[in-house]
Amino acid sequence: MFWRRTADVVVIGAGVQGCSIAYNLAKMGVKDIVVLEKGTICSGSTGRCGAGIRAQWGTEMNCRFGLAAVEKFEQLHDELGMDCGLNQSGYLMVAYKDSEFEQLQKSMKLQNSLGINTRVVTYDEAKEICPGLAAEDAVGFTFHERDGHADPFLTTFAYMEAAKRLGVEFLRFTEVTDVKTVAGRVAGVATNRGDIDAPVVVNAAGGYSQFIAKMAGVEIPNLSERHEILITEPVEPGVCPPMLMSFSGNYYIQQRPHGSIIGGCSPEGHPQDYDLGNSWDFLEMMSRTFVRLLPRTKGVRVVRQWSGLYNMTPDRQPVLCEADNVKGFFLSCGYSGHGFMFGPISGELLAQLILGQEPWIPIGMLHYSRFERGELLIEPAVV
């Protein structure tokens, strides 16, 4: 077997972040890039996610990322040459408490000031947007029609295929066992298949990024929580076209274009077991949410449940930066459940940072040093 001993850039992790970073670097002219994946492409958190894409956020940072990502997704098929399954049926946010509705409206004002045309809708309008909806107990709704969802598999594969055409190499079943450093600089990685020397190493390892960081001698406070999700058999379209989301209701539910309905929620107890198993408790809790919120799904069958890791940070915002103490070691992790939707934009911004350019959306505040300084950027809008 041929084994490359060197590369200009090593990317660890072939989820949407790693594939987008590799593609964007190659597009900007970097020649010798290798992406290492311990499983297969898109086998980690990206391929397990709820697939949502939204600009309805509660901090300026996330609104800017969200809108830029929506705009990227809108032209991704053309750019990458592969359909990414984009479906812009909007996000319908549901508030059950007055304080929650006030927060949604406060976020809406911020969104509107940044060019995101979120609006308050009445219950009647909400039922037009989502014909299966039963939410008499809700106090208010906001809606942004450019939000929606895309296929996480196809999006990641599209980035990989486009990157391959630009010369990027992808190595599956290749697990990083050490990150080598010399005098405050990254020097390469060791893997289960051999070593690769490289002046730039990117940590895009999702749920395992804190372990990769530790190998390089970089401490980040990230933790991985197991979240669960289910999908039904396909039924007629139009039951739940938008992403239906509520923070106090603790759910997100959307119907894929071919008819199956996906739903997830935040788990009780926030398990950090790295076991990607399934629980009966989730199945029962989520099924209750479905039949209450979308009564016409009573007779619809669940075909599969699965789980994935949310890589959480203390303020639920990502770590996107170069390490202070290890030059050439970059991090793109800690997306806290929204890494898929930000992939197209964070990949471009990190590629700019790696090449010494000024990222076109400032990302200075996403350095992990904010946790030590206590300058958290707390995001209120997370399920």
Binding site: F157, I231, T232, E233, E284, F290, V291, G299, V303, R304
Partner: protein, 93 residues
Amino acid sequence: MAGKNEDIIICRCEEVTLGEIREWIEKGYETFDELKRVLRVGMGPCQGRGCREMILREISAKTKVPVADIHPGTFRPPAKPVKLAVLAEGGDK
């Protein structure tokens, strides 16, 4: 003749043909889970009961690895589709 076989539907739930499966195996999607993610084979109501064996044989034909040594992909609950209303009623703990 070959063309005719290529049109055979292997995954009936998601309507994926033999030709599509061979095309993606050729592109390097050589495990069941990779084919599942790119083509959705085995993701429908039967969860791969109809297509899994045939797809593993196609992977074997390309990679020359015996079917018995190929990872069959991940199996997830429920074992058969169950109505949401039944699940919502709960069960004995």
